[in-house]
């Protein structure tokens, strides 16, 4: 990071704290539009609760539809937050520091939204507590051998851990905001910062605890998307029943999450004048990591075809032939091009150092990763073993409405965060200026 040392501690504080000033009318206008999107989603969900699950486009054989697509998509988005905040922290990659806070926040919001989709898909939401392991007169317990129950355990653990990790990381910065605030705002931040004063005893335990957080979050993030992949891989459906699903899903999740980091950070950098903190070198480092994850994802697409051919299983071969040439071939080719070919453009320095290219490619990867979930979740059950059981699916208006609501909610939460809490870790930036690393380097 050649540009970073020019900053001083005071400049870091000023740049970040300036973003917490009262927002303009434009900000509130965007907030209102997003609230409208959330209300559309909520109304669609309400309508579905009233009418029943038939309000969605799901059918037999495609029983999952966009609710599971969006669930997997949002869990995937969440993954790069932990990659950046925990895995890159353990690897002492100093370039993660300016984007770690935004990525961690993205993780918390994305997992929360992902967690909504199983509820949305439940139909009878009021009996959701049946999923909890509690003593009851029916002697019924969740089946802990089921991948769906694995999911409940893994996602709720992930949400809890990532929220605690995020809040712990925020503590010193909440204190910094408190120290420059007045009136009610000061009182709120005093409570939120737990009276943090950055004394040596606090840092001694904090840095050690943070290291353990990172060390625990790293295997957790790998386990969570592996568990999500087993929702599919543990069933005997062609196109799903594959041992490569866990690493394939983890790589795909990080791929989509990194793209979302670019999608969020590029406008944030421009609006909040973060150019000296989130330098082009950092965006370039994200782009280079995207090349890596894109290659893994492309390899997984290829190896799936190899396995179908090599297995000599006609059902598997037909499933993959139909995937590329059948009714959902457009979605398949969007997936292939956006996820594994477009990211290769980042091999060119001119492209990975251009804001317009970085932003456009990040959007295309987000799109491609959504379609990847579409191809896997819809395509496999739509065209499995027996021709008379085949069937097509397309989302209903209610499903599109709920999807609009989920995206609106994500961006709404992120915008509220960006204007009310420090979106860049001032503490870690100061450490970067001094040592080039993160806590405890």
């Amino acid at each position: 990071m050649s540009e970073a040392p020019q900053l001083t501690y005071a400049e870091v504080d000023r740049t970040v704290l300036d973003t917490l000033r009262p927002p303009s009318g434009g900000y509130w206008l965007v907030i209102m539009v997003l609230i409208l999107g959330v209300l559309v989603g909520a109304a669609c969900w309400g309508y579905q609760i009233f009418i029943g699950l038939g309000a969605g486009g799901q059918n037999i054989p495609v029983a999952w539809g966009t609710y599971l697509i969006n669930f997997v998509f949002w869990v995937g988005i969440a993954h790069s937050g932990t990659l950046i905040s925990a895995i890159l922290y353990l690897f002492r990659a100093g370039w993660r520091n300016p984007i770690a806070r935004a990525a961690e926040t993205m993780t918390v919001f994305a997992v929360s939204i992902a967690g909504l989709f199983p509820f949305i898909h439940l139909g009878r939401i009021w009996v959701v507590y049946y999923m909890l392991p509690y003593p009851n007169q029916r002697y019924l317990w969740p089946n802990f051998q089921s991948p769906l129950v694995f999911d409940v355990v893994a996602i709720s653990t992930y949400l809890t851990v990532s929220s605690l990790f995020w809040y712990t990381g925020l503590l010193p910065d909440l204190a910094a905001v408190r120290d420059r605030a007045t009136g009610l705002r000061r009182k709120i931040f005093t409570i939120l910062s737990l009276g943090w004063t950055g004394k040596h005893e606090q840092w001694r335990h904090y840095t050690r605890g943070y290291l353990f957080f990172a060390a625990l979050a790293t295997p957790l993030v790998v386990s969570v998307h592996s568990v999500v992949s087993w929702d599919f891989a543990l069933s005997a459906v062609p196109g799903w029943h594959s041992t490569i699903f866990a690493p394939y899903f983890v790589a795909g999740a990080i791929h989509s999450g990194l793209a979302m980091v670019l999608t969020l950070m590029i406008p944030l950098r421009k609006i909040f004048h973060y150019e000296r903190i989130v330098t082009m070198k950092i965006l370039e480092a994200v782009a280079k990591t995207i090349i890596f994850t894109g290659l893994i994802v492309g390899y997984a697409y290829g190896i799936e075809y190899f396995l179908a051919w090599y297995s000599n299983n006609i059902v598997e071969q037909e499933a993959f032939r139909w995937r590329a040439l059948g009714d959902y071939s457009i979605e398949f080719w969007i997936m292939v091009v956006c996820n594994s070919i477009v990211p290769l453009l980042f091999f060119f320095k001119r492209i990975r150092t251009s804001i317009a290219w970085l932003f456009s490619i990040s959007i295309l990867i987000n799109l491609g990763m959504w379609y990847e979930r579409f191809v896997i979740i819809i395509g496999s059950v739509a065209h499995d073993f027996i021709p008379h059981a085949w069937g097509l699916y397309w989302p209903s208006g209610i499903e599109w409405g709920i999807m609009l609501g989920s995206f609106s909610l994500f961006f709404l939460l992120f915008l509220l965060f960006a204007k009310h809490l420090p979106s860049i870790s001032m503490t870690e930036m100061k450490e970067t200026l001094d040592h080039g690393g993160g806590h405890g380097d």
């Binding site: 802990f144 051998q145 851990v161 010193p172 009276g195 005893e201 001694r204």
Partner: protein, 172 residues
């Protein structure tokens, strides 16, 4: 401020950089004043070394949490399976391999809970009283050494901090 006498007072030396703070801490070793706290805007190895701080024991909390989580996760899965002895997918009622996932997730969850607990308990959080003898610049660009001394030594401490290139602030 353990063992402080009623007549003791606190003086904070504020320094603009980490190196000068660390050398001031080392220089204070020859004086009778007690270093109560050192406030920094970020964790500093130089200052930890100057204070000769030991490694935090927070990892023991994490370890105990992890063991509890491991036992809880497996116990929950086994107990519920035994309560409703249903053969699923031809696997035994107590199917160890799928239960590893439940055991693993609970291990991580409880480790993290215990880690946070350790951090809060050992770090003395929440600590709203600590704000009374604290300078807000210490969360920005200053490093503060809070020293305790007898009331009669106050001027000497102030002079010492100023000679080290810092600024002194007295907390009565």
């Amino acid at each position: 401020m353990e063992g402080a006498m009623a007549t003791d007072i606190s003086v904070m030396g504020l320094f603009p950089d980490e190196q000068r703070t660390a050398s001031t801490i080392e220089a204070m070793a020859g004086y009778p004043w007690k270093i109560d706290q050192v406030h920094t805007p970020f964790p500093s190895h130089k200052i930890s070394a100057a204070l000769k701080l030991k490694k935090s024991p927070v990892g023991w909390f994490t370890l105990v949490g992890g063991i509890l989580g491991f036992v809880t996760g497996f116990s929950l899965a086994i107990y519920t399976a035994v309560e409703w002895k249903l053969i699923v997918w031809g696997k035994p009622v107590i199917a160890w391999i799928p239960f590893v996932i439940v055991g693993f997730e609970f291990t991580i969850l409880f480790s993290v809970f215990a880690n946070v607990l350790g951090l809060v308990v050992l770090g003395g959080l929440p600590d709203y009283q600590g704000l009374k003898r604290y300078d807000p610049r210490c969360s920005a660009e200053h490093f503060g050494i809070l020293a305790t001394c007898a009331a009669g030594e106050k001027e000497k401490v102030i002079e010492f901090f100023e000679n080290q290139g810092g600024e002194a602030r007295v907390f009565d």
